[in-house]
Assembly symmetry: C2
Homo-oligomer: 204 residues x 2
DNA sequence: ACTAGACAACCATTACCTTTTTTGTAAAGT
DNA sequence: ACTTTACAAAAAAGGTAATGGTTGTCTAGT
């Protein structure tokens, strides 16, 4: 009767397990991934995996939740990385959210969205909303004045644009490097009319 | 031995036929669309269809080419519509290119990109490149000065962003109306730092 | 410039059966 | 906190054969 780890990433071993599981789920999708596949990738036996999770559904739910939570953690970190420009921090956030899976998603993984919606109850929508809010806050905090203020564009609109473009690029770029490169252009375009508060510039 | 109409949309009847064909291809994809399906949608017999096109491949190729050409015609028209603002003209161009298929694409139509690449020899890439160039020209012609010029953002970068965002929205919007609404935000964000030449504003 | 009917060849779908894989449980060991 | 072996039940995969749909051609008609 394994405790279905309520809060996820306290345990580093469990965290590694769920990272491995996500890799496999991204390659094969939910249906075509077997418990043996995940066990092998994670470097433990199938029964060792069942020790942690009673069912494939429970494993998947925990995997998705851990994936979302670690993504949110990483994007929060990226967004507030000290000594970096707003541009670099936003780029880091997109690289660790949308760019995270570029080149890792297999052709048979089309059922992942459906499965995660069904098994993890709309977690994606919520995460997206929170990501949106985080980006708005981040930009607003860094902006001193908006050279295009009179045009009626608000930060939320800017974030909408960033998100739409990142999703477009996610589908059409073949490598994470290409995604990052093209996303940099997008971020620059969207941030261009903003006058930022005095802060240290990027050095990376 | 039907002449595989070299230049497409001279004939209005043929144009209608190819429009109907595209609707069916978008619903069912290339493989799952039968010649009967197209004939029925176009309102003629299957043999009448064979009178125009020897093979399904030839029909598909002509359909894609006609679709691309009419799209380019419409976008060119939209982009130079007199009396409308740059914003409205760009929005019109995106509505008639990317927005054109929103809500019309069926789940089984995933093979269309592959088929058109294979049978129409990279026509999509070329069309995309030309669309990019058209947008750059359109924006450059309407711009008097760029308030964010010092940021190193050029018009091509702006167009990259518009295209990336339009592709992101294309996948995530359920109606053409929603696409247009969200694309309007994107266009506003991207054009915000531009100071336009004196011209009549939109009234629509 | 088409329609109607018929036709062989081919392709896709279905049904059915057999074999393999996978799930989830359990026991015993380290 | 695992591993290995074992096992029943369920699901998926593989093989095969019949069935139905689709393609492309032909002929005859309007």
């Amino acid at each position: 009767m394994p405790t279905v780890s309520p809060s996820a990433n306290d345990n580093p071993k469990l965290s590694q397990l769920l990272d491995a599981a996500m890799d496999v789920f991204l390659r094969f999708g939910f249906k075509k991934t077997s418990m043996s596949d995940v066990a092998e990738e994670a470097g433990l036996s199938r029964q060792g995996l069942y020790f942690h999770f009673d069912t494939k559904e429970a494993l998947f739910k925990a995997t998705i939740e851990h994936w979302i939570h670690s993504m949110q953690q990483e994007t929060r970190d990226a967004v507030s990385e000290p000594g970096k420009s707003l541009e670099a921090r936003l780029l880091g956030a997109f690289d660790r959210s949308m760019g995270r899976t570029v080149g890792k998603v297999g052709a048979e993984a089309f059922d992942l969205a459906e499965a995660s919606d069904q098994l993890a109850d709309g977690i994606m929508e919520r995460a997206l909303g929170q990501f949106h809010a985080l980006l708005v806050r981040t930009i607003d905090e860094a902006v001193a004045s908006d050279l295009s203020a009179k045009s009626g564009v608000c930060t939320s609109d800017r974030v909408d644009t960033l998100l739409a473009a990142s999703m477009g690029l996610k589908h059409r770029t073949e490598s994470r490097e290409a995604f990052r490169r093209q996303m940099l252009t997008v971020v620059r375009v969207v941030l261009a009319p903003l006058k930022l508060k005095a802060a240290s510039k990027a050095r990376s």
